[in-house]
Structure formats: structure tokens, C-alpha cells
Assembly symmetry: C2
Homo-oligomer: 312 residues x 2
Amino acid sequence: MPFSSETVRVLAPATVANVVCGFDVLGFALSEPNDEMHLRLTDEPGVRIINEDKFDLPTEPTRNVAGAALLAMLRAAPEVTGVEVRIHKTIRPGSGIGSSAASAAGAVVGLNHLLGNQFSKSELVEFAMYGEEVASWVRHADNIAPAIYGGVTLIRATTPAPDVVPLDAPPLFVTVVHPQIEVKTADARRILKQDVPLRDAIRQWGNVGALVAGLLKHDYALIGRALEDVIVEPVRSILIPGFEQVKSGSHAVGALGGGISGSGPSLFMLSQHEATAQAVAEVMRRTYEQLGLAHFVYQTTINTTGCRILPV
Amino acid sequence: MPFSSETVRVLAPATVANVVCGFDVLGFALSEPNDEMHLRLTDEPGVRIINEDKFDLPTEPTRNVAGAALLAMLRAAPEVTGVEVRIHKTIRPGSGIGSSAASAAGAVVGLNHLLGNQFSKSELVEFAMYGEEVASWVRHADNIAPAIYGGVTLIRATTPAPDVVPLDAPPLFVTVVHPQIEVKTADARRILKQDVPLRDAIRQWGNVGALVAGLLKHDYALIGRALEDVIVEPVRSILIPGFEQVKSGSHAVGALGGGISGSGPSLFMLSQHEATAQAVAEVMRRTYEQLGLAHFVYQTTINTTGCRILPV
């Protein structure tokens, strides 16, 4: 076998998709939490999944996010017989911070390392999108791309091939709260209107352009003004108890802005300063304590490297 | 009178609004053509318009674009009695390259100079929008902003106040053709659908974000890929004979891309190299000669300063 017989260890980050105004096109990677995966090439044909966590995810490769991504990659690398992946997830499925994307991205980055990095990041995004399809029936890339590229990414378009634009952002502190309620991505998509008023669409693409400009110009005030969503948030926020309290409370303590992470239920807020991000964490805890809802709070930063290969 | 008794001379540039994907939010200023205006303060109350060109535009201030903009500005500067403006337009009304915006922008920039530049560019945009309202019944700013700021500008939003984001673009060569047909802005707006499919809106804001990133990153290839419009161009291009020939012919000779300037009938193409822009000009001339349509072609660059105050 011409490839590495080593075992590779991968840390795959959580990600925030949509980023308020950028529905289906913007996303960024978080420094915490991360899934951990171990991959090795085997002589057993196909993909073998071993789950080492409590989430009881499917192990049949076509029904597993990492499995579907690896199967797509194996079709492009017919010289490989098989691959085994052991998965220890920390990113809770259904949390809205890219749990399935982490599995898919970590798997293809790990296998690519074992294959001598023969595939480009753009190709890895394509493979990983087959994993997202298993999770949400849609081949979207707005979590996958930041999980693989790191930082903030824009997906210009997904057809004919994903066109990923990395955006060099200034330092940002991110506070995320995951209230323990279930919002299925497929349900969250179903309640969206299929048509939107042109007037709202114009406001939205003005904000997307401004958010991209704010990030690239390192203009925090502009980032804050651009974090406005007139299309998706008004519909989806009603699914998330505490949304308005978290948003208004976070603004009150100085957050730049934020909103629903992906399709929820997690909410995220961006801050220029660490002390503000801490105050936002307090707002989040207080909100869900008052509502009597179990919750996790992550206070973190933007991961600028994406999935990382680590010593075993 | 505390203000200047001099006469100020202003060159007000043509502008390209929309810039393919950025309907109502993006625009840039052209080095050529320009309108020329002379303004002076008077003791005669109100605004006096003197047209020194062949276009026979209204001279009643409330019905004249420059007049309406100046009246809005006078309401904010009650210490001024009156202003006289002589206008020599070169930018043909109805051409789709911001003829009315040039009149409005030049007028307010000129009067601001006479008032010791007491108003910010952002405030000037607001005054000038009253002029655009006279021309097209809509207070849009996508021609006004680049005419005042120069370069490429993004209007993040127009309410509560216009939020203008200047975008530092790389050098670009611009070729514009104005075929001598009439497309009224109001008509061009009327044929647009009031609702758009969410899927198309997502594609559009992916392109807007990518175009902003391409400009700020000076990434010509990305600029080219992002010059795609799935919402407005398919509807409006049918009003413009020769559209497909100009577009495909320009791509064939190496243009980055382009489309309808504002609401047409002018078409514009962006090129990285001057020789390409010349070849595009040939494509444009050939197309309209074959169609037997009178036309003007401008081969120019992006004006990075906006309206200019010149010696009299």
C-alpha cells in the first residue's frame, strides 16, 4: 500500500453558519468546542465507523455524516481500499453549531492527510458536502467551508462547484449559548418562505456586502451595523425561547451583534473585547436560568486554521 | 453675508449603479463623461437654475434634480438666502449612467464648498437623494454615493439614514456603450417582480459578498466570477437590443464581466487591462453598427475622487 499506515488524529471545530444576514453563504469556525477523530487506512474495503461517544449516531457509512463524506472521497481515490474512523464528538448533534459539518470536515481532512494531501481544500469541501446531505437533505457548505478553511468564509455559489472565499477578519470574541431544545435543520428550513419581497432581499444583500467589507476592513462598527437579518431571523427566532432577551441584553452590554447560529437553537454574539464577551455570557446564563432551560455557554474566539492534524 | 461670494466650478461624474449583482446597493464613478456646473450665492431667495446645454430640462427648482437637492440643502442651512446654478450637462439624460445623480451631486458639493464644507459627505448624499426622487420617484443613492465619494461604494441601507461604505478597488478599465434607445428608470423599475425566489436571493447575496471581497482583496478573477445577476438582468436585458451580443462578445475578448448600467440602456464592461477595454469597445461598436442603432462608446476608468471643485 503506497499510503501512510499511521493513524491520524484530527480536531474538527464547531462552526457558526449564516452569521445573521448571510443565510446559506457565510460561516466561521470556533476555537471551541471541537470533535476529535482518529483515522487509519485499512485493507477492509469501504468505510468503517466507530463511535466513541454517547450520541448513538448511525454507524452505517451511507447514513453517517462522516461516512458519506468519506465514501464520496473514496470514489475519487480508487487506489484506496478502506478507511476506519473513530469519532469522539463533543459538539452535540442538533445544537446548530455545525456538529455534522465537523464530522464530515474532520473525516475528509484526516483522510487527505493520510493520502499525502492530494486534494485541495475546495475539493475537500465538495466531498464533505455529501455528509451534510445525510444530515439535512441539502448539500450546503456554509458550515463545511469554515470547518475546512478556518476563519470566516463566504460561499459565493455552490454550483457548478463550491466557490469558497476566505475573509480575513479582525480578532473577534464569540459567545455561544446552546439552550437544550430541539430545532431540526430540516424543520427550520421548511418554515422559511420560498419567495421573499425584493425590497427585503435588497436590504439583505446590502448587509451581506457591508459585513464582508466590515470584516475585510477590520471595521468593528460596520460589522455591528451589518449584523441585521430582515428575512430569516423574523421567522426562525420564534422557534427559540429567550431569543429577544439574549439579543437585546447582549446589545445592552456592548456586543457588536449576533443572532441564530445556523438553524438554531444555539445563539451567538460577536464582541470586540473579551470583557464584553464575558458580560454576554452572563446575559445568556441569566436568560435561560430565568426560563428554567438547561443550557451550555461557550466563550471562545474565531478558529483561524480549521480542522487541525494533531500528534496521536 | 458670511459665506464666499466667489463662483465655484464643479465637475460631476457619470456613475454606474447596480454593478450587475448589486441592485440598488453598489455603484462606481467614471472618469468620463462629466457634467460641469457653476454655482454662486445670491441675495435672491431660493434656487435659480440656468441650463446651458441642449437638453431642455425643467428650470423650476422643485422639478429640477439639482434644484430639489439644493432646496433640501437650503432647508438645513437657513442662513443662506439663495443660490444660482448654471448647468452644462454632457451626461445625457436617460442614458443610465447617472445623469440626474451628477446634477444632484454636483450641486450639493458645489454649494457645500461655498458654505465652507460644513456638511459631511454622508449629509450631502441625503440632500442629493431629494434630487433623485424628482427624476425617478425613488430616493435611491446608488448613483449619488459614488458621485460624491468617488470610487466604488456600497449603500448598506438607506433608512434611517444612508449608510455609505467606500470600497477600495483595484485599477479597473471601464467600457460603456450608450445605444440611443429610451429606457425610463420608472419603467425599468415597474417590470421588476415584487417578490423573488429565496434561492435566487441567496445566489445574489453570495455574489454581492464576493464582489465586495474581490474588490477589497484586489482579486480580479473573483470580481469576474461575482459579476452575475440572477434577479434583475434576466428581466431588464430584454429591453436592450444587443445585450447578449455585447456581453458574450466582451467575455470572448477577455472582459471580467459587466451588464446593464443602472436601469439601462447603457451597458458597461470591466476589464483588468486597457487593451481588453479597447477590444470591448470594438465589440460594442460592431454590435450596434450591425443593429443600425446610433450609439456612444466611452472608454474610461474609475474616478476615485467623485465630484471635483475646479478653478473657474
